[in-house]
Amino acid sequence: MTKLLQTLVDGLGVGSTYALLALGISLIFGVMHLVNFAHGELITVGAYTSYFFFIHGGSWWWMPVAILASAALASVFTELVAFRWVRNASPFTLLLTSFAIERLSHALWQIFISPKQRTFRKPSWVFNQFSLGSVRFEVMDLVTIGVTGVTLVITAVVFKRTLFGVAVRGAAEDFDAARLMGVKANRVISGAFAFAGLLAGVAACLILMRTPAAEPAMGADWLLKAVIAAVIGGLGSFTGAVVGGLVLGLLETFTRAYLPDVADGWDRFSTAVVFILIAAFFVVRPDGVFKVSHAERV
């Protein structure tokens, strides 16, 4: 029972980070039909921003603001200098552009900072533990789940209540029809990139509080998981992205915790097992959990 609960909380923690990233990927896919493989780089931007501020005496009290701002700015910047120019090109061209940005980002950090990992300070309370009954939790578990919950509620309110949110959803369904309503293409796309950047910034905060380190290629692994989560949920579906992220997180932690321990290091297979399970899922449901009808036009 204790193990079950702890695994559940672990899974929700990892899963909610995936969910925040997957939501951004789904959002950009919605308005541009781009699977943005450069999205993970926003975590790297957040990490080096933290590193920069920490060597100049930064504190975790205001670091989240810097991380969010840097991720949002970087996201908008990639759209402005790269994606805007290939907006009407084929999805494959868009995909290649995002690969190029990803690799360019790796190279730039390697050249201008260092190929080696740079570490900084974590908040002192992160791994403090507290008990609920017989189960021990880390403070960070609670923070992760709480912050994600609040972020998702804010996201839901933005997309249901504000004109910007309604315009993004409308543009995701039929961009030309949205233009006929007076929605400005540049504004709605920039806005979507800014919002996706903020969500990635929140994810970066949660990641960096646990693992305060910056490394050129650190975004790649998170990106892969986030793309898979978004696809599990059904690309373009916001609810799907959240569900996909949580499912992937839970699947990972549960296979790691419960995979039969037949040999030493057997748990290293857990990621492969997860991917096989997901592949099997796609055989049954090729469109993901929430099928997005208009995504077929891609």
């Binding site: 309604v166 315009a167 959803r169 006929l180 400005k184």
Partner: protein, 241 residues
């Protein structure tokens, strides 16, 4: 109010409009009829800014609007109800209307949304329903209401009765008549040619990208020779696509 001058629009190597000219005066209802593939939708989409013409000019209230972004044209008072309605199926009826008022201030938008609820009781009944669940007639009314949100001076309507049940066709024609009494200028593309021409002040017959006839609506409708040679029988028309 609207002047289309020698407009040519191409899709790659295919020319859909060959130097089409027409005008719509303030307060008029003008019908644009012709067989499938005549270029009617291309013309409306080019005027509304969704397509860029290869040659020619479009003037709206005296200003050259050739190749202007749709978002800008909406702000100047030119709205299009596109072919197949293209309402946002994932959004609720209310959200569709709010988006229709994207160019308004928040308070104007709220006011306008309430106004539409009064004008279209059908929509009020489905207020929080996803627009994807509306019937064809309801969806068409939503499409028109959504376009009216921005208080257009000129409304372009592309096949507003396409695919509707006969009673719903009546509802849509009534709606157009009602809008006309309010003084709204309209350019209507219709596959229901006879009825559209009878309703309109003037009409244009378009065929393979050329204007082949124009004149008072009732006169064009009465010209049976014209119908045979240019518009084609309704059976042929529906079979062509």
């Amino acid at each position: 109010m609207l002047e289309v001058d020698q407009l040519t629009t191409r899709y790659g190597a295919i020319t859909a409009l060959h130097g089409v000219s027409l005008r719509v005066n303030a307060g008029e209802v003008v019908a644009l009829v012709g067989p499938n593939g005549a270029g009617k939708t291309t013309l409306l989409n080019t005027v509304a800014g969704l397509l860029r013409p290869a040659e020619g000019a479009v003037r709206f209230n005296g200003a050259d609007i050739t190749g202007t972004e749709p978002a800008t044209l909406v702000r100047r008072g030119l709205a299009l109800v596109p072919e197949h309605r293209r309402i946002f199926k994932d959004l609720t009826v209310e959200e569709n209307l709010r988006l229709g008022g994207a160019t308004l201030s928040a308070s104007q938008r709220r006011h306008k949304v309430h106004e539409m609820a009064d004008v279209f009781p059908v929509l009020r009944a489905k207020w929080s329903t996803s627009a994807g669940f509306l019937s064809g007639g309801e969806a068409q009314q939503l499409a028109v209401a959504r376009a009216l949100m921005c208080d257009p001076k000129l409304l372009l309507l592309d096949e507003p009765t396409l695919g509707l049940a006969p009673t719903m066709v009546d509802v849509v024609f009534d709606l157009i008549a009602r809008l006309r009494t309010k003084g709204l200028t309209m350019l209507v593309v219709e596959q229901n040619a006879t009825r559209a021409l009878h309703m309109a002040d003037r009409g244009y017959v378009l065929r393979t990208g050329h204007v082949v006839a124009d004149g008072a609506g009732a006169e064009l409708a009465a010209d049976s020779r014209l119908f045979e040679s240019f518009i084609g029988g309704s059976a042929e028309e529906s079979g062509a696509s």
